[in-house]
Symmetry: C2
Subunit: 336 residues, 2 copies
Amino acid sequence: MLKKVGEHTIKFTMPPKIINGYAIVGPKEGESPLAKYFDYILKNDTFNEKSYELAERKMLEQAIFGATDKANMLSTDIDILLSGDLLNQIISSSFSARQLQTSFIGLFGACSTMTESLAVGACLIDGEFADTVACATSSHFSTAERQFRYPLELGCQRPPTSQWTVTGAGCSILSREGKGHNITHATFGKVIDFGINDMNNMGAAMAPAAADTLCNLFKDTGTSAQDYDLIVTGDLGKLGSELLIDLMEHHGYKLGNNYCDCGQMMFSSSQNTFMGGSGCGCSASVINSYILAKLDSGEYKKVILMSTGALLSTTSSQQGETIPGIAHAIVVEKGK
Amino acid sequence: MLKKVGEHTIKFTMPPKIINGYAIVGPKEGESPLAKYFDYILKNDTFNEKSYELAERKMLEQAIFGATDKANMLSTDIDILLSGDLLNQIISSSFSARQLQTSFIGLFGACSTMTESLAVGACLIDGEFADTVACATSSHFSTAERQFRYPLELGCQRPPTSQWTVTGAGCSILSREGKGHNITHATFGKVIDFGINDMNNMGAAMAPAAADTLCNLFKDTGTSAQDYDLIVTGDLGKLGSELLIDLMEHHGYKLGNNYCDCGQMMFSSSQNTFMGGSGCGCSASVINSYILAKLDSGEYKKVILMSTGALLSTTSSQQGETIPGIAHAIVVEKGK
């Protein structure tokens, strides 16, 4: 019998546990209201490397090795690394995996990668294909800007709907055994495109996919927003979050004060990031620090984590394409 | 108890079945020795679209819908689509997924994507998270050349170690039930880098990863080359295949006449592709046509399929990096 409830949601029979997380962020993110929760804050955004790409890779490697360290494991205890990032051909992940003598499954879900990797990783553990997996992702403001937008040196003005790609990386260790928080459900998202074509308005492009996944999760599990202590999206930002609230209301679900967005939580309004943070590293660093800490303390008992991704490339945008979105959700319950 | 044998190899308890495959290729590939096995051969390499990227996407969509058609299914019968490709941010896959109302897991394994998707898909079915999944990938000579190398208009001379990116796409439908060939084992590969930095010598960059995965599979299952009717790699090409044979011999395994490479099989020597075919679409189109046909006919009873990927980007190469490789293997046995 399938381990599913409803049409789209997986229900794990032996919920895999998030036994540990590690979050590392850049200097600007180190001034975030969440700063005290991060494991490591860079003093400079090149992390003493020659290029931003090398800095991003070094952050991701530190997140992976940091998480295994915190779990009192060696990297050889990891059966499979699941990782992806925003850079072309996910070079941050592939080159980081080179440092590990472990199997590697490369993923791409743009900024949805953190929950994509957690959902696939949970399947591998509940399906009894692995004892321990590492789920990791990263982003860097300067690698993303030069790849997706303009050279930083050009000093382009940022439009008011834009978000700020978070410099950061996060890694979660999932395990069958041990003490940790339980992943009870996972809903893999569909690709949804409402026709947004503005690369500086990612929140609007991703909100319909987030609404679709969240509605499916609610419907499949027979729950609604009040059944959770926290529902957190990846990086919809201020505008995208408002759109999600509207879309959910349209579907008959009211998101209340227990809804928030990692992109909005990451920066204070004085940090001039307009709509807030974005990038794979945004939800990766918030989930693996603040949210795990609140689960540890018991303030949260049941949460929905849903990273959101905008599936565009510069080629697709230059060829006049719109921006499809995707969102993958998991339900996490505080472990005993 | 883990569904594993040895350290790295998954052994499926209820082997997921490849119930169908669909292969579509470009006009040059239509002159291949394997031509009669392909489901569809393009008359022109733009597939009557305005750009090569749109042509690649249309091929991938046709592969996915073609495979579901051949399986007498509707696309809504697919629980999850697993797909990835070579283009930045895997736009061929993401935009194809937009056409399906089904969950999507985006993967990136460069040219290893066909067996990566089959291995992850088999885990999702054997783990009882899905009844039916589609595993698909694509590549296009002209989208790959302009993204990874030089504009075609420049007419650059191709070095003798180079391979020719296959214009093609393939899709396999995996299912728990029905008539098909059984995926009995899967070995997820490690990222291995022997220091090759020549973007025109991908075979050499990937061969060490292929050797590592194949040795692990042999060791874990207690088998060697003579236990299989066919061992096929993705796109090592002529040089990479010779290196693999040497490396395997060094590890005590002799690959005989039952070893071949999709890249070498795809083109005849008169087609001037030097070392042979490459690209995600290479193993995708050969596996989903010729190899499934030989399993159907009973000529092959037990095969190893191992697509191979070179995990580089133009950014990593321009920054002086070497080329890491990866290879994921599955064992397929003829169904009854």
